[in-house]
């Protein structure tokens, strides 16, 4: 495969473009998706026309619901949420209709829809423009949840999500949009539910997703020669590659979970529970978590920095579990 260096956003754009070329049932809509300054969808309308790529009025319930309906009739809508926080006004369509219709219908209909949601803190955007919220979606039976951490995975996971017959929430961290990486030109699929071993190490397992994978990898670099840090990126939190996490724990005996989402009842709690239930005999230290504490994301950079997980906090936490 011909590799070249492109950004995370360009990788997302390419996945949609190639799937739209391959399958006329793929359509794209959302707020401002035809705008030239929106890198992930730039140029799609020019190539595929305004029927298949359209701007929606600022009515998340209506256009997400329209995505669910179009998917039930066999289209493959890729619907964009400008920010994941805005999903909160449309939760009936997401958590009831999108998630449950396949099950409730006795499998007589499918909802092959991808809801792309830009998420994440670090830009002083305040409490309703900075959240992660993966756990909300992962909690509801029926939704798959992908959280890519690099351009290669972004393209491959989005391709898989569009092709998947289940509804997928596809989480894109805003601070990853400009991240560069090597990405094949051709279409390819990274399967949902298969973790990526980012760093090998023998002393401690760090599980992280999205932007936090990079933070965890840099923490591992900081500790080189001191602690052998293994970084596992599940890539999707539903389905979750539990075996990759458990087999790493079996090697290292220690677990740190890093999550930009809120700590309480979050993904970090879920991974800790899995370790306790299925990997307890291999644990040599209590599981530790580095997640956003249970406060709304504050605006001021001084406060925002203080609550978010980052490389330094991960280093500190790893040192704690090593003692």
């Amino acid at each position: 495969m011909a590799l070249r260096t492109i950004t995370f956003a360009e990788a997302l754009n390419e996945a949609q473009r190639l799937e739209m070329r391959r399958d006329p049932e793929v359509i794209v809509f959302g707020e401002n998706v035809t705008s030239s300054w929106r890198a992930a969808t730039r140029g799609l309308k020019e190539e595929f026309g305004k029927e298949r790529v359209r701007d929606a009025p600022i009515t998340e319930t209506a256009f997400i619901g329209a995505g669910v309906g179009a998917a039930i009739l066999g289209l493959r809508p890729v619907v964009e949420l400008m920010l994941v926080d805005f999903s909160l006004v449309a939760m009936d369509q997401i958590l009831n209709q999108m998630a449950k219709t396949h099950y409730m219908s006795g499998e007589s209909v499918r909802v092959p829809m991808t809801l792309r949601a830009i998420y994440g803190a670090g830009t002083s955007s305040g409490a309703t423009h900075s959240e992660s919220l993966q756990a909300l979606f992962a909690h509801m039976p029926g939704l798959k949840v992908a959280v890519p951490s690099n351009p290669f995975d972004a393209k491959g996971l989005l391709t898989s999500s569009i092709r998947d017959d289940a509804p997928v929430i596809f989480m894109e961290h805003r601070l990853l949009y400009d991240m560069e990486g090597e990405v094949p030109e051709e279409a390819y699929a990274v399967p949902l539910g298969v973790a990526n071993l980012v760093r090998e190490g023998g002393d401690v397992t760090v599980v992280a997703t999205g932007l936090m994978v990079g933070e965890a990898a840099r923490a591992a670099d900081d500790l080189r020669g001191e602690v052998g840090v293994e970084v596992v990126d599940p890539r999707t939190i539903v389905p979750l590659d539990e075996e990759a996490i458990l087999s790493s724990i079996r090697r290292t005996g220690r677990l740190v979970v890093v999550d930009e989402d809120y700590e309480r009842c979050g993904f970090s709690a879920e991974v800790a529970a899995i370790a306790a239930e299925k990997g307890f005999s291999h644990l040599e230290a209590p599981v530790a978590r580095v997640a956003t504490p249970n406060v709304p994301i504050p605006y001021s950079p001084a406060l925002e920095r203080h609550v978010l997980p980052n490389r330094e906090k991960i280093v500190r936490t790893i040192r704690n579990v090593m003692h």
């Binding site: 359509i27 029927e51 298949r52 359209r54 929606a56 009025p57 009515t59 319930t61 209506a62 256009f63 997400i64 619901g65 329209a66 995505g67 669910v68 309906g69 179009a70 998917a71 039930i72 009739l73 066999g74 289209l75 809508p77 009936d92 369509q93 009831n96 209709q97 219709t101 396949h102 099950y103 409730m104 219908s105 006795g106 499998e107 007589s108 209909v109 499918r110 039976p141 029926g142 798959k144 017959d165 289940a166």
Partner: protein, 330 residues
Amino acid sequence: MCGILYSFKLSIDRETKLSLYRRMVRIRTFENEARRLVGEGLIPARFGFYTGQEAVAVGVCAHLSPADEIGSTHRALGHLIAKGCDPRRLMAELCGRRAGLNGGKAGPYHVFDPSTGSLGANGIVGGSVPMVAGYALAHQIRGDGGVAVAFYGEGASNQGGVQETLNLAACWSLPMVFVCENSSPEVQRMLGHEIDYPQLNIEDVSVRSAAYGMPGSSHVGWDVEEVYAAAGASIRRAREGGGPTLLEFKVHQIEGNLEGRLEAREEERRWCPIADFREALTREGILTPEAEARMLDEEARMMREAAEFAMRSPPPEPREAFKGVFPEVG
């Protein structure tokens, strides 16, 4: 009623009239059979019936083929029967049996039947309306001439999602018809209880169409010919690319709201679409007492068979509870 509707009404032929009548009888008979099963504890849920509203489902769905979709409500049985769902499998679904349309996972609030375009009942007030816009969007993109109809009540008409969808359908000129069944034309009610503060501060829900830039009109919902005429014009308009319409039909739930709990007032029993139409058809010489008796008998037999079919079906295996959260690959 405006001229075009009147002429539409005049053009309804004998055969269509008899078919409209039979379908209303079918809904009533199905629901009465379901009531019996609720009373005997054979249907485990309590839910809303459609009695008194039959003319709306029948008059609208008469213009739809299985390739057109409807989205429905908590009070879905009338819509589902009118759209052509198999009464046997629908009854089995209500009973939570394996042979049900959805294998016993749906129950009255979530029935989906893609073979008839019934997609679907919905447990959330107004929840199906945005999805219906998606069905219409699929028809628009495919250019296949299909139309989608959203049924909802006057309570749902206030929901944000319904308002948002009116706007979206108008902005995208979707082939869609909004059908609001207003069951509180004289008395403001919620679940049969008379409420002090109204749910609506307007007489006619259809006035909201103007706010979104689409045509709308209000009609008597217990006159099946008027429903048929109004729906026919709107559905044809949508099919021909003219965009969405909001139709409001005033209806009366003549047998009360939730079975066994609430009873309708005596005066509301007057607005029975079936009794009215029977009188008209008899007057016009289209329906004889003998033909009527034969029809009632046939429909009653069909529904008894539906109940027997449901009772013969075993409940789902417990392991079925874990199946179908995600589609099977392949």
